[in-house]
Structures are given as structure tokens and as C-alpha cells.
């Protein structure tokens, strides 16, 4: 990787030094025309909003005197960040999704990996069907999936609850302790197939010669799966893990929908829900600070994980 980058730099430098050999070369106008379609939206709809949020997070509201005195904003330094770090609801929500992530992400990725490996064995029949079936939930929008599951969780409506009660069980999918895992179940249902597909495509890219060599060395199907396939698709597993960490930190749709039918999901259940609740209470500055802190935590966790696993994965 480093080699390629260095070589690429050299080529670029060489191209740069061969300036206008015949008075032509790429004109600035051409460069702008090619870059603009990416760069303009990137700046307008990505960098500027982020910059605006960062700027907002450094402001505080002040007011002229009186019951309905006019408000204005002024620079307040890290005051909003102080509020974020003192906010017990914020840390409670972080703790909640940490627990969610520590359990849900490994479970989901393990299931996805097993499914990908099964699809990759010659033993399984009806592969095309299973591949599409496993991927199907991903085609369902997250909100719709959450609404669908909320009907399965509601004791008033669910055939599942009726069935379990018939077996003498007393399930309470929406209870104070269970509701986090009910949300995790929706996420797992939604995303397992997607992660499986990433791993499965990586498996497809492995040259068959490797398996032949392994078989000649006496490896069975198990050994091939765990000693050849899994290590080779390591980078894909890491990629799906990073996606899942980011997804967990941004958890919103599933709990927000379940909140419609369960009061055990508070308005501050996840960090994103807290940010939304604060913004809807007209405290945009604090909401901006919360968002920036969530972004930094996401950044640190995903890059931290990548660094931690970089050596192993050969990145």
C-alpha cells in the first residue's frame, strides 16, 4: 500500500515537472469542471453544515431583560461542551448504546459470517434463494421494519405474544429491561443480510487454487473455512464492524418507532434521540455540541478499531 502510494506520488510529481511540454496540458478550467460536481455538493452539504454545527456549539443564548426580552447569541467558548459532559442523560444514553453495541454487533456479525460461509460451501442447495432471502430485510426501510416489529412486540396485537402465552410464557418485549434488546433484534434483522453480502462477495473473490492447495495439504471443509476463508476476508469483517459501530452510535429509527408504543423508551434513549429532543426544545447550541461529541466519539471508536486491527488484517 505504502509502495503504491509512494509510486503514485512519484508519477504525479513526474507529471507535474514535465510542465507544458508543448504549451498545452490540463487547463485550470478542465480541472474545475471535473472536480466541481463532487466538490461543490461536498462543501455545501457536508463541510458547511458540519462547520455550522461546530460554530453553533460554541454559542450561548443571551437575552435582553424582561419576560419576553429579545434573545441573541454570543460566543460562549466551551460552555455547551461543559453542559454535555455534565449531562447525566447523555452519559446514560452512551452507556445504553455501548451495551447495545457490545452485544448486538458481535452477534449480528457472527451470524452474518456463518451465513456467508454456508452460502460459499458447495454443500448448500438453493443458494440463490437463500442469498436473496437473507438480503431481503435490508431492502425494507428501517422505519417500516421497526413498525412491523412493533406490531409483533405489542401484547395487544402480536400473534407471537399470543403463541408464547399459549405455551405458558409471559413475554414482555416492551418492558423496561427488554426493550433495548427488542430494538437490537430489529437492527440485527435489518442488517445481518447486508453484512453477510459484503463478506460473501469477499469470499467469492478468493481464488479456487488456494482451496485446492489446502486440500492437497489435507485440510477439511472446517479447516478451510476457519483457517483460509475467515483470515482472508478479515478486511471485510473489519469493514462491517466499523460500519456497525457507526450505525450503533447513530441509532435512532428503531427506538424512535418503538417509543410510539412503549413508554420504556425515553426521549433521551440514544444520543441521537437526546440531540433531537434538545433541538426540538429550541436549544440548538446544546444540540450542536451533543452532535459534535457524538461525531468525535464515533470517529475515535471507528478509527481506533481500525488501528487496533490494522496489523492483523494486513491493512
Amino acid at each position: 500500500m505504502t509502495d503504491i502510494a509512494t509510486r503514485a506520488t512519484r508519477v504525479v510529481t513526474a507529471a507535474g515537472s514535465r510542465r507544458r511540454p508543448n504549451g498545452g496540458g490540463p487547463r485550470a478550467g478542465t480541472i474545475v469542471a471535473f472536480l466541481a460536481p463532487f466538490f461543490l455538493p461536498f462543501v455545501l452539504f457536508y463541510l458547511v453544515p458540519i462547520g455550522y454545527a461546530v460554530w453553533q456549539s460554541f454559542l450561548v443564548v443571551r437575552r435582553t431583560r424582561g419576560q419576553y426580552g429579545t434573545s441573541y447569541t454570543t460566543f460562549g467558548g466551551f460552555e455547551q461542551y461543559g453542559q454535555v459532559f455534565q449531562n447525566t442523560e447523555f452519559w446514560a444514553s452512551i452507556g445504553r448504546i455501548a451495551l447495545f453495541g457490545i452485544v448486538q454487533v458481535p452477534v449480528m456479525l457472527f451470524v452474518a459470517l456463518i451465513m456467508a460461509l454456508l452460502l460459499d460451501t458447495p454443500l448448500l442447495k438453493l443458494k440463490a434463494f437463500f442469498r436473496v432471502a437473507a438480503f431481503m430485510p435490508y431492502a425494507v426501510p428501517g422505519v417500516i421494519a421497526a413498525i412491523m416489529w412493533s406490531f409483533l412486540y405489542s401484547p395487544q396485537l402480536s400473534p407471537l405474544v399470543d403463541l408464547l402465552e399459549g405455551l405458558g410464557l409471559q413475554p414482555d418485549f416492551l418492558g423496561p429491561g427488554a426493550v433495548l434488546w427488542s430494538a437490537a433484534n430489529v437492527s440485527t434483522w435489518l442488517w445481518t443480510g447486508y453484512n453477510m453480502l459484503i463478506m460473501f462477495s469477499a469470499l467469492q473473490a478468493i481464488p479456487q487454487e488456494l482451496y485446492e492447495a489446502a486440500k492437497l495439504d489435507g485440510a477439511g471443509n472446517w479447516a478451510i473455512a476457519w483457517r483460509i476463508k475467515v483470515p482472508i476476508i478479515g478486511p471485510s469483517i473489519i469493514l462491517t464492524t466499523v460500519f456497525s459501530i457507526i450505525g450503533t452510535l447513530q441509532l435512532y429509527a428503531e427506538p424512535a418507532v418503538l417509543r410510539q408504543i412503549s413508554s420504556n423508551i425515553s426521549s433521551t434513549f440514544t444520543p441521537n434521540m437526546l440531540a433531537y429532543a434538545v433541538a426540538s426544545g429550541n436549544n440548538y447550541q446544546l444540540a450542536a455540541a451533543i452532535s459534535v461529541v457524538i461525531a468525535v466519539i464515533t470517529f475515535v471508536l471507528s478509527f481506533g478499531f481500525m488501528r487496533l486491527t490494522a496489523k492483523r488484517a494486513g491493512l
Binding site: 458540519i50 462547520g51 419576560q67 429579545t70 434573545s71 453542559q83 406490531f151 423496561p176 429550541n282
Partner: protein, 446 residues
């Protein structure tokens, strides 16, 4: 990845972000020079077009009626029910607010705190409209003062919906007081453990606020240049304690969200025998539980003492928004929209609005019996309820945030950790904290 490449990229991002911040620095609002001068009420020369944002179903048809009658004052509607206050708030920030917008009573102080309104009291037609509305609605729209910031549109006077067949079956009279209601709750539950008298939705602060209002539990006051926060009061604690006892004894369900499919399913399955609701709820039952036609009756809300008292749940105003340069025309339209019998009848028919104008109770649709309710004149009950609502009740400037805190804490209580009076303490603390965040001077207690 080569370090050089990373560093160059990072530098680029930093430069771009810094540039963004520099541009945006200009967006920080400057300190205002002083209060806005009183708006004038000159009629415009020629044709005027007004923007009116609302969430009422069928409002475009009401406005079309006005537009055909008033070629020189044309009104354009926009439905903002998707994100009512988000849309209004963003428009205000951008300086592009409409001339008129629908604002709920409980959001009026919050928006006024954001300098969202213009005072229309320079128009004589605006101040004269006072006598046309139910007193508490005018008092909230004018913030108890002489300004006119909004015209009341609809209200949600509360009453008790009763499954008369279930009450009869278990030999119960219609409860007059909350004590009788609790006794009935016990009798129903003892007779049939699957039957509850009602449900308590902890995620419905607006409903709970209506109950507090009925008991004169004033949550806010203003004097000496400060807000006085009294969310936690003897009156509010009385209401909280009452419902806590019903929850503890498992006489009310706590697992149903108001308006959700499971709630209707529970009613459909005859598991709940009454509903503490507002006037606009009559069509909810009619439309969602058609097989229960004839089984429901509507009676006054149970009271705490012997004298009649009621609360309000919901309802909205049509506010004069900041930047409105056509106050004269806006007052004319707003006045027609919310007091003209033809307009009120259409709004009631299409949008289910229960009018805030006193003339509303004389509308044909609101003075007849309603087939679903055994042809009873249910709107007479709501009209009486409306007259018995405390006019001095005041909403806070951070009501939405306080409501969320109240809900989160009520949900904990309903889930078995803590009690409802703790939720009042939490709401009180949040009120003070959120007002401090918005630099609004506030103290606890009277």
C-alpha cells in the same frame, strides 16, 4: 496509507472547515438594539397575498372560499403537519416566516420567547375581537396583556367518555368526582380482572397537563421581571398522587400509548371502560371503533371538589408572525377564519375543529345530536366544559422540553421505579434549567 497523503487531506479539510466557519461567523445574530416599535395597521393599496401555514386537514378548501370572496386579499396555505414547529422555527431563523401560522396554546410563550410574533393591537378589529372568544383562549393568545399576537382557533375542552353498557353491566353510576371514579375503577377491576376503567399514558404530558389545569395547578407565573415556576405544587401533587394510587393498585393500564393501534385494539376488545378526553376525540372513537356505536356517552369530567371545573387538552391559535407587513389584511382574514359561522362550520366538518369562538356552539353541526353517541347532544357537554376552564392558567416558555422531562419521569414511575410526584420534581427542575439555558430569568415557587 502514506502519511503525507493523509496530512494533505487533513489540511484541506481544515482549510475548508475554517473557511466555512469564517463565512458562518457572519450568521451569529447581533445583540438587538431594543424592542420592536408598535406595528402599524395601514391597509395596503392594491392586491395583497398572505401566507398561512397550518396543520388542519381541509384548510385549503376553507381558504379557497375566502379567496373567491376576497380577490384583493389572497391567502396561500401550506400544510406543515409533518414538522409544525421545526418548520416555523427554521423559517423564523431564516427571516422567512409566513404572515400567519398555526401555533398551539402551549407553544405560544416558547415562540414569543424566540421573538416570533408581531403585535396586531394597532388594528382596532384585532382588539375588538376579544369578546368573540372563550375567555381563557383570549387570555393565552394575548399573554394576559393588551397585545394581540394571535387569534384563538380551536380548543380541546375535556370530558369523560363512558362505555355506558359496561358501566350498566357492572351496576355503576356515572362518576361525578374523582373519588367516585377511583371507586368505580376498583369495582370494575374486581368484577373482571381484564377490565380497566381507563389507561394512563406516561408519554402524554399534554393530557396530564390538562388534568393539572382542571385542578388549578398553575405551573407558571410572572412577576418582578421573572418567571415563577410552580410545576410542583399542592394541586399538581394531588393529581399525581391520585393517578399513582390507581397505577399501584393496577386499576389503570399503563402499557397503551394514546392514539396508537394497541390502544384502539384494547378498546375494541372491551378491556377499557372509559376515556378522559377532549372535544376533538369524539371523531377518533367514531372513526376507529365503528362497532361500538351507541355504546358511548360523554359526561362532564369528574371533579376534585363539588364545584364544576374542567381542563383543556390541545387546540391552536393562528398567530401574527414576525415580519408581517400586512397586518390590516391579516386581521381581516384571521377574524373571518375564526369567527365567521360559514368558516367555522367548514373547519369543523373538514378538520374536526372545535371552535374557540363563542359563536361556535351555535353552529348547526355542534348543536345537534351525534348518531354515534346515541344522538346525544355531546357538544353541549363540551360547551359547558369550556366555560369551566381556569382562565389564568399559563404555559411556560420551554414547555416542550418540560413536557419531555415530565414524560420520561412519568414513564419511570409507571414502570415501577419512583412515583409520579417525582416526575413533577423532575419537570420543575427541567423548567428552571431549560429557562436558564435560554437566558430566561426564572425562580422556583411563587
Amino acid at each position: 496509507m502514506s502519511n503525507t497523503v493523509t496530512r494533505i487531506r487533513l489540511a484541506g479539510a481544515v482549510v475548508a472547515t475554517t473557511a466555512g466557519i469564517a463565512v458562518l461567523a457572519a450568521c451569529s445574530s447581533p445583540a438587538p438594539s431594543g424592542d420592536a416599535s408598535a406595528a402599524s395597521c395601514e391597509p395596503a393599496k392594491g392586491k395583497v397575498t398572505l401566507q398561512y401555514w397550518n396543520t388542519v386537514p381541509g384548510m385549503d378548501q376553507v381558504v379557497a372560499l375566502w379567496n373567491t370572496k376576497n380577490p384583493n386579499i389572497q391567502v396561500q396555505t401550506k400544510n406543515i403537519s409533518n414538522d409544525q414547529y421545526g418548520t416555523i422555527g427554521n423559517a423564523l431563523k431564516a427571516g422567512k416566516a409566513p404572515e400567519l401560522a398555526q401555533v398551539g396554546y402551549d407553544e405560544l410563550p416558547a415562540l414569543r420567547t424566540q421573538d416570533a410574533f408581531v403585535d396586531a393591537s394597532a388594528c382596532s378589529a384585532a382588539t375588538a375581537a376579544k369578546s368573540k372568544f372563550v375567555p381563557w383562549t383570549w387570555s393565552q393568545s394575548s399573554f394576559g396583556g393588551t397585545g394581540v399576537f394571535a387569534f384563538p382557533q380551536d380548543t380541546g375542552p375535556m370530558a369523560l367518555y363512558v362505555r355506558s353498557d359496561l358501566f350498566k353491566k357492572h351496576g355503576l353510576e356515572i362518576p361525578k368526582t374523582w373519588d367516585e371514579y377511583a371507586a368505580d375503577a376498583r369495582k370494575l377491576h374486581d368484577a373482571d380482572p381484564k377490565l380497566s376503567i381507563t389507561f394512563f399514558d406516561p408519554n402524554n404530558a399534554e393530557w396530564f397537563n390538562g388534568l393539572l389545569w382542571q385542578n388549578n395547578a398553575e405551573m407558571y407565573g410572572y412577576s418582578g421581571d421573572k418567571w415563577h415556576v410552580t410545576v410542583e405544587s399542592d394541586q399538581s401533587k394531588q393529581v399525581a398522587d391520585y393517578w399513582q394510587k390507581l397505577i399501584d393498585a393496577k386499576l389503570v393500564r399503563t402499557d397503551l400509548a394514546h392514539g396508537s393501534t394497541p390502544m384502539y385494539a384494547a378498546y375494541q376488545q372491551n378491556q377499557i371502560a372509559s376515556y378522559v378526553g377532549a372535544a376533538w376525540g369524539y371523531s377518533m372513537f367514531r372513526d376507529n371503533l365503528p362497532d361500538q356505536a351507541g355504546k358511548w356517552t360523554i359526561v362532564p369530567m369528574p371533579t376534585w371538589g363539588s364545584s364544576a371545573a374542567s381542563g383543556d387538552w390541545g387546540g391552536s391559535t393562528v398567530a401574527f408572525m414576525k415580519g408581517n407587513t400586512h397586518l390590516y389584511e391579516s386581521v381581516m382574514f384571521n377574524s373571518w377564519l375564526n369567527t365567521d359561522p360559514e368558516a367555522l362550520a367548514l373547519e369543523n366538518k373538514l378538520g374536526g375543529l372545535y371552535p374557540a369562538a363563542t359563536a361556535g356552539s351555535e353552529l348547526p353541526a355542534l348543536s345537534q345530536g351525534v348518531p354515534y353517541y346515541n344522538n346525544e347532544k355531546i357538544f353541549d357537554v363540551f360547551a359547558d366544559s369550556s366555560k369551566n376552564i381556569d382562565t389564568s392558567f399559563t404555559w411556560g416558555p420551554t414547555q416542550k422540553t418540560v413536557n419531555l422531562a415530565l414524560q420520561d419521569a412519568m414513564a419511570k414511575a409507571a414502570g415501577g421505579s419512583g412515583v409520579l410526584t417525582d416526575a413533577l420534581s423532575a419537570a420543575q427542575a427541567t423548567a428552571l434549567k431549560s429557562m436558564k439555558d435560554q437566558a430566561i430569568p426564572a425562580v422556583a415557587g411563587n
